[in-house]
């Protein structure tokens, strides 16, 4: 039983990465019906920006703000830098293209993804980079025989706070209502006086920012980052988005967490090498029986 609990906690940790990335996919998809393939690379970029701050600027900032302050600054700067990149990518690669259709936008998104990935390679080099090792004291807590590290607790705490904040913003504020309305029916929403441009600004600011924070957390958790890792995480996060029901934000959060837990349980009880196969099989099975995802509502077919 302890193994199960430990795997569930590990799964929730990586699941919260997937969930944070999935939120960006889901928001963009909900409003623009665009699969933003560059989103995984926003995540990587965040990871690298965080790495640079932690490694290069640490001497300076630790003196003034302490270790925790440094981590907070790294996450904040990474989020801001990547959010600005997200806005730039939207402006350059998506805005001129999405009025012409969904499929050209997919190619453009892939182009943006290739561009960002290779820009990262040019700037930081093609080799793996390693996050500093003694960032967070390696403290283990034992709760009823279940091991959990301080880092895991922090990651879970931070991601749940971020998700809760986003949930409140989307569900309870007027601005969130505007985003939801645009996702439901863009034209009618515009007729009701919703500024669609602001909505797009909002989603392309928040989505990449959340992805970047996940990137910094992944760096702290696994310590090793590479410029191609965005593909893998992006793919998993996109899977999580679909699992939860695309365009449905709480669905994306739960989809990510469920995916992480399934992956870890699969690794423990089936085989570590086959865990991804297991995840994709579950996804396919879910979609066969619930074609709109776990939490997706059935949409009537337009004729």
């Amino acid at each position: 039983m302890q193994v199960v609990f430990e795997q569930v906690i590990n799964g929730l940790t990586i699941g919260s990465f997937y969930a944070l990335i999935a939120l960006g996919y889901s928001m963009v998809y909900g409003v623009l019906k665009l699969i933003n393939f560059a989103h995984g690379d926003f995540f990587t970029l965040g990871s690298y920006v965080g790495y640079t701050i932690l490694v290069w600027v640490s001497g300076l900032t630790v003196v003034h703000f302490g270790l925790w302050g440094l981590i907070v600054i790294a996450m904040f700067v990474a989020a801001l830098a990547v959010a600005l990149t997200g806005l730039a990518v939207e402006r350059v690669a998506y805005r001129p293209i999405y009025p012409t259709g969904r499929l050209p936008a997919v190619v453009s998104a892939l182009g943006a993804s290739i561009f960002i990935q290779n820009a990262i390679m040019v700037v930081w080099g093609p080799r793996f980079q390693a996050y500093p090792s003694k960032l967070i004291p390696n403290i283990k807590f034992v709760l009823g025989g279940v091991n959990i590290t301080l880092l895991q607790i922090l990651i879970l705490l931070m991601s749940f706070i971020l998700m809760a904040v986003l949930y409140v913003v989307i569900q309870k504020t007027t601005f969130g209502a505007a985003v939801r309305a645009s996702a439901l029916d863009r034209e009618t929403a515009s007729l009701m006086g919703i500024n669609f441009k602001k909505v797009i600004f909002f989603i392309f600011f928040l989505g990449p920012a959340l992805g970047a924070m996940a990137g910094v957390m992944v760096g702290m958790y696994y310590r090793q980052i590479s410029f191609t890792m965005g593909w893998n995480y992006g793919l998993k996060a996109f899977t999580a988005t679909i699992l939860g029901g695309i365009g449905n934000l709480p669905g994306a959060m739960f989809g990510g967490l469920i995916l992480g837990v399934l992956e870890m349980l699969g690794a423990a009880y089936i085989s570590a090498a086959w865990k991804d196969v297991f995840v994709f099989l579950i996804l396919i099975l879910v979609l066969i029986f619930r074609p709109n995802g776990l939490f997706g509502e059935r949409v009537a077919e337009k004729v």
């Binding site: 993804s113 820009a119 396919i284």
Partner: protein, 330 residues
């Protein structure tokens, strides 16, 4: 004949252009070095793969981002049957096609009712499952991450052995030529019309009596079969197959070939394949910056030609913009 290839207004000029292109294709390898011929060979492989995906994505409008999976099945079928059982490579071409087609039939049957992006993610999952399974080496036959090596050259009864660059060049382009001929026939058949009808309006097609499920599956089966043949030729050319060659990235490239060229357009696919396969070679001097250029060019192309480089023209009106607009609203 000309409108089938969707050439522009003057059939005489375009016919001359085609004749010139074919002549260049025949003469070029006798004057070029091995490197250029090999590049042209991979252009041919991508053209064949693009044509195969074009059936699923271009003709029927199904988002298939796992096409490299079918390609992998074809390549591994050839590799394993040739290295373990010593069967001749050429005889394995139809076997590879059938293996890939059967795989497509079995895998796609339960998921064919999914729409748009849901089908897209399931095909991604399918492609990833194939790749991961090849890496994990089930029953010790796929060689794990290293793959299978030592695949024979194709030969016709031992007297014509295809082992030089130039012979491979003619082999692949011969197959591409036959495939194009078959696909043009298919486009103008009852099947082709049913496919296009499904793409334009699935509900209406179903209502008028088109067996939507059957035709969608048929597209996947034929597309996978052609991809399987491409896998067969690829395996014998490289003499080694490994899982890295069939990644999600490869599927994305194929997707781009069809969209850059123009959905459903055969000349468009050739142009898209040329772009994807020749561009990185031509821009090799840029070294590590070339993929930056590549990504930017993809964005620029979609900015200026969202309907593709050579969109298919249908009937008397040009569908390009109207079609895309409709799709954007849906």
């Amino acid at each position: 004949m000309t409108d089938r290839f969707s050439f522009n207004k003057s059939p005489g000029a375009s016919k001359a252009a085609v004749v010139a292109a074919i002549l260049i294709f025949f003469i070029f390898p006798f004057f070029a070095g091995d490197y250029a011929i090999d590049t042209a060979f991979f252009f041919g492989i991508y053209a064949l793969l693009g044509l195969s995906l074009n059936i699923v994505l271009g003709e029927v409008g199904l988002f298939d981002l796992g096409h490299a999976g079918f390609y992998a099945i074809g390549a591994y079928t050839t590799a394993i049957l040739n290295t373990v059982y010593g069967l001749p490579v050429l005889a394995l071409a139809p076997v590879s096609a059938m293996a890939a087609a059967l795989f497509a039939y079995l895998v796609c049957s339960p998921i064919i009712h999914l729409r748009g992006d849901y089908l897209c993610i399931v095909t991604i999952g399918m492609g990833e499952i194939v790749r991961l399974a090849l890496i994990n080496n089930p029953f010790n036959i796929t060689g794990g991450p290293n793959g299978v090596f030592g695949i024979d050259f194709p030969s016709l009864g031992g007297f014509l052995v295809i082992d030089s660059s130039i012979e491979y060049y003619f082999l692949i382009w011969g197959v591409v030529g036959v495939t194009i001929w078959g696909l043009v026939r298919l486009q103008n058949s009852k099947i082709g019309r049913a496919w296009n009808y499904i793409r334009e309006d699935e509900a209406a097609a179903g209502a008028i009596g088109v067996d939507v499920r059957k035709y969608k599956l048929l597209a996947f089966v034929i597309g996978a079969g052609i991809a399987g043949v491409a896998g067969n030729i690829y395996a014998s050319k490289l003499m080694v197959v490994s899982p890295e060659s069939f990644s999600f990235w490869e599927s994305c490239l194929l997707f781009c070939i069809v969209l850059i060229g123009g959905m459903g357009s055969i000349p468009g696919v050739l142009i898209g394949a040329a772009f994807i396969s020749l561009f990185p070679e031509i821009f090799r001097p840029f070294a590590m910056y070339r993929m930056l250029v590549f990504g930017s060019v993809m964005i620029l192309m979609m900015m200026f030609r969202p309907q593709g480089f050579w969109p298919r023209k249908r009937g008397r009106f040009s569908p390009g913009k109207a079609l895309l607009k409709q799709e954007g609203e849906a």
